[in-house]
Amino acid sequence: MKILVCISHVPDTTTKVKFVDGDTKLDTTGIQWVINPWDELSLTRALELKDDPSTGVKSVTVAHVGGAGSEPTIRKALAIGADDAIRVNAEPADAYFVAAQLAEVAKKEQFDIIMCGIESSDYNGSTVGGMLAEFLNIPSVSAVSSLKIENGQAVIVREIDGGKETLTVPVPFVAIVQKGIAKEPRIAAMRGIMMARTKPIKLYEPIAIEPLTEYVKFELPKPRAACKFVDPENPKQLIELLQNETKLI
């Protein structure tokens, strides 16, 4: 079995974002780039499955759509333990564009399980995984919090609104993963970092795809009203304030 993990390259989650060019573009000065937190967990789970011989998982490949500037993120994924990587050499114009590029890669390379994170922490789309599955005409399962392989069969737990479902689905499929898929992200050890240097990153040129959306402007959230402090000796005052001012109690 072959697993593909799709990774997105995003600003570190503590970044205070700023915009340039008349608020049309992210100001990338000083930004630390990381693997999208969900994708890091998804890679971790893929590697755990590969570590267990009973699953029959033979290889874990990572794929990323991005310019040469994102190679360090790919190397990081290789250092964590992916066997090889694919980079589609294009700026990720929008989710549709990215999914279409990943679909081309997946068609050529043939994977059994494709894993995507439930959202990318930059544009918060939650759409690439589902689009990718549809481009490939294969099933997708979303909000996956557990993925096991038992007797060659994928057994999945997904979160539904108000509960959980355990299900099976035939390969190939796309698993769109969320909290629970792995406990802690695996981190790269020294040996992994050394080995990553020589692992292959296959380069694909993009296919021609028109993005369907255009980000025309960014803005920061409106400032919130300043905090009103209540007397710690008199917590009742807090309840009164909430009752009178928010009318929610």
Partner: protein, 321 residues
């Protein structure tokens, strides 16, 4: 034409979220000079279907087919695409919840329709069709132009107020041709009798400052008295002090209640990422320099264990209990 809304139902019933979606759709129908059609999947009574007219739906399509009894993302997307095409819908609205997120991207590819994902307001303009959505996990918002003829919006829960606009509804019950689902559900575990975190208008949330899993009693009591759901920060669920479903934040649930009361939560960026859509945030924390006070509108600097019982008393007094 028509604006199409996918209204999920829970064992044959709609809930507030369904009414938010229909209210939102009727506003868009008004802006674009058309009407609202809804589509729901499952076995539903006419009386329940009719309630959608109260929020502006003119046509309610109800589809029943055994192959749709489990959520198979592709089957659902196929059915919705068929309805959208036969209705000639140019705008399709779904909830940005687990189910909506599962279906919308497939629908987007089927119809080659741009998605505005996690939208929290009415479109800023119709021509070009520009939506307003959260980006960088709530630390910014973007104006996004959906460039295709057909557009899909996934609407954030609790971001749009219900508007009543009574309409006569036409109910249409139809069957469809659909394949046996590839997704085979073996077991369902439903959270019963408990207010869902994503549905709650008030949420009381505890962090590491609660010190121990044994201290949750008064927090839960406060939540019960307020008709609130309970939540927690990530370390709390990681430690197993509280169930995983309660974890809010970047890597947990993203919620937007009217009132979010935090107790012993420091207010890390990743926590705030999941709750910044809350109308009011309350912070109870013993460290007055904790970043949570920067995003809170009401604050109390004090020890959680001392404050909580007093809050419980105060609420009991108000509620006359």
């Amino acid at each position: 034409m028509s604006v199409l809304v996918y209204t999920e139902n829970w064992d044959g019933k709609f809930k507030k979220l369904s009414f938010e979606l229909v209210s939102y759709a009727s506003k868009i129908a008004e802006m674009t000079g058309t009407s609202v059609t809804t589509v729901t999947i499952g076995d539903m009574a006419d009386d329940e279907l009719k309630t959608l007219g109260r929020y502006g739906a003119e046509k309610v399509i109800c589809i029943k087919n055994d192959n749709l009894s489990v959520l198979d993302n592709r089957n659902y997307a196929t059915v919705l695409a068929q309805v959208a095409q036969s209705e000639g819908s140019k705008v399709i609205i779904v909830a940005n919840n687990n189910r909506g997120k599962a279906i919308a991207p497939m629908l987007s590819v089927k119809l080659k329709a741009a998605i505005g994902a996690g939208v929290s307001q009415l479109p800023l303009s119709i021509n070009p069709f520009t939506v307003y959505k959260r980006t960088f996990s709530g630390s910014s918002f973007a104006h996004v132009v959906l460039k295709t003829d057909v557009k899909i919006i996934t609407l954030a829960q609790n971001s749009f107020d219900i508007i009543e606009s009574n309409r006569d509804v036409k109910i249409e019950k139809i069957d469809v041709q659909i394949d046996v689902p590839k997704t085979q559900v073996k077991d369902v575990q439903k959270q019963t009798g408990k207010l869902l975190l994503t549905d709650a208008e008030i949420v009381v949330s505890g962090g590491r400052g609660m010190k121990s899993p044994d201290n949750w009693g008064p927090l839960v009591e406060l939540a019960d008295l307020l008709g609130a759901a309970t939540a927690c920060s990530r370390p709390v669920s990681d430690e197993g002090w509280r169930p995983h479903e309660e974890h809010t934040g970047q890597t947990g649930k993203i919620i937007a209640p009217n009132l979010y009361i935090t107790v012993g939560i420091s207010g890390a960026t990743q926590h705030i990422a999941g709750v910044s859509g809350s109308k009011y945030i309350v912070a109870i924390n013993n460290d007055k320099s904790a970043p949570i006070f920067e995003v809170a509108q009401y604050g109390l600097v004090g020890d959680a264990q001392k404050v909580l019982p007093k809050l419980v008393e105060a609420v009991k007094e108000i509620k006359g209990k």
